[in-house]
């Protein structure tokens, strides 16, 4: 029974992490209909920024996390303004090629600057070890991830549903022409959203160094996971990708525990079956526009 709880707990932490990593992609891919395979590169950038700050400059982990967010968001904003925005109107093939190119460049560049081995971020002592909760060992670090990601998710939902910016974004996505006719600066809204999504990915990358492992091949290794979250979750709301990432996280952890030999086989099969069964995702509403 306790193993079951541990698996559930680890799975939820993993899923929450995946959600923070992928929810930026849910906006670009799901809402703006831009196939951005390079999303993991922004996560990797955040992770490395955090690692350099903590390991080499001696910053506290808690202070380095926001900077990982800021660095990735800035990188995202710069790239969006300079490169991405030219490709919004192009076909999917061009977008795929472009973002694969970016992935290759980021992998080689990080390999060149930081070396190809896996990197670890020194954690403060307060985050290491486990706390005993009615006989179930709960990792402190994972608990922190659940708290941070849960708060972020709630905040995102609030921002999207309740604020002026949220309604502008939803309007811009639903019908860019009508939205700009109403005086909404659509490119600006997209750029801000893109940068914010990249920032979240960077934060996720910094948090995931401990759990997923951080090396130059991060964008390639986890690309499929981010894509699964978005395509399976559908694009109609933020809840879909959230549930999808929880499912994926729990499924992956449970699969690795109970069927270690099958490896990622289970996840890929489930994804293909779901996509065949419901091409717009489990929680999707309409086809991509």
């Amino acid at each position: 029974m306790t193993t079951l709880f541990t698996i559930l707990f680890d799975g939820v932490a993993y899923g929450m992490l995946l959600f923070v990593l992928a929810c930026g992609l849910a906006v670009t891919l799901g809402l703006m209909n831009f196939v951005n395979l390079a999303h993991g590169a922004f996560a990797m950038a955040g992770g490395y920024v955090c690692a350099v700050l903590v390991n080499q400059s001696g910053w506290p982990f808690a202070a380095a996390l926001p900077l990982a967010f800021v660095a990735s968001a800035l990188l995202g904003a710069v790239l969006e303004r300079s490169l991405y925005r030219h490709l919004y109107s192009r076909g999917h093939l061009d977008q795929v090629l472009f973002s694969i190119g970016l992935v290759f460049m980021s992998v080689a560049a990080v390999d060149y600057i930081m070396g190809s081995s896996r990197i670890f971020i020194k954690l403060p002592a307060a985050l290491e070890g486990q706390i005993d909760f009615f006989g179930v060992g709960i990792g402190r670090y994972r608990l922190m991830i659940i708290v941070i990601c849960g708060l972020l998710t709630a905040a995102l939902q609030l921002v999207l549903a309740r604020t002026r910016f949220g309604s502008r974004l939803r309007a811009a996505v639903d019908d860019p022409r009508a939205a700009s006719g109403l005086g909404i600066n659509v490119p600006q809204v997209f750029a801000l959203t893109f940068a914010f999504g990249c920032g979240l990915a960077g934060l996720g990358g910094a948090l995931s160094a401990e759990i997923l492992g951080l090396d130059p091949y991060f964008p390639l290794k986890f690309m499929i996971y981010f894509l699964i979250v978005v395509t399976v979750g559908g694009s109609s709301s933020i809840t879909g990708p959230f549930l999808a990432s929880l499912l994926l996280g729990i499924g992956d952890v449970a699969g690795k525990y109970y069927l270690p030999k099958l490896g990622p086989f289970v996840i890929y099969t489930i994804m293909i079956v779901i996509l065949i069964w419901r091409p717009n995702g489990l929680f999707g509403r309409t086809a991509t526009r």
């Binding site: 694969i100 970016l102 080689a108 060149y112 099958l262 293909i272």
Partner: protein, 343 residues
Amino acid sequence: MDGQAEIGHFARLPARWRWSEAAFWILALSCAFLFPSRYLIMTDIVRLALFALSLDLILGYAGIVSLGHAAFFGVGAYGAGLLALHGLVTEPVVALVAAGLAAAMLGFLTSFLVIRGVDLTRLMVTLGIALLLEALAERFSDITGGTDGLQGIEMQPILGLFAFDMFGKTGFFYCLAVLFLLFLLARRIVHSPFGLSLRAIRNNPLRAAAIGIPVNRRLIAVYTLAAFYAGIAGALFTQTTALASLDVFSFERSADLMLVLVIGGTGYLYGGLIGAVVFRMLQEVFSSITPQYWQFWIGLVLVVIVLAGRERLHRWALWAPGLISRRVAGRNATMAASGGKRR
């Protein structure tokens, strides 16, 4: 000339052989005698060209964007490797066809998944299938050799006559012959009414369906055919290098393939062939500058190509040859290059 005959005339126009095409193949053959010390890399280029030709069939002619074309390459590679390793089919040509058919079988089965859904779903499904096969190959390591790959493959002489030599001379001529034969077949197919209907589907599936083209059946057919081609390319890989490892399924292989085709241009069959030559040369140059980090430059090339616009780049690339061929052949000779493109 009445209307019907005129339409037929223009439909057949791009199908005619041109002197530039003959020159291309003579040049390819003469490479064998010009660079006798470079057989291995030339064999590599020919294999890649065949693989790219396969992607061109579905991407350039049917408009299916695939991120997992390496799946069929891998099935062909492991198929040929297993046949040779266990001595089931020792004759390379028969084994080649058998491996190709195995890949075609997989292509046929998965095509039903691919024709469902929009672009994004297709991307995910093709990518997922390639990853699935890679995971399977790793899981059943007693058959595939796991991460070590298949080792100790010994190839018998081709048709019982030509033994593979250590310089790769036989391998090169073998690959080139296979490429040429399959190219002829592909050329025949894309200029047939079947090929024309594929282009109609690529340009507008809805209208194609409205004029009575069975869209799904055509897509299944061409996807299966492309899988066959990719399987053959994979089998050639195993037969000429005598090894097959897990990286035949890798995502990088599918991604590189897209770059090859994009460099050469889609939808006129020679794109993959030219792209393969340029890609390998670029790779050589980049890895001589920065051995470990050549991927960076490959990525940069991709980004630049997309930002500059693929169509525009090909117009520039075709400017000089077009000028020459107009001088020589007089009128409309450049139709060869622009015939397959979107108008």
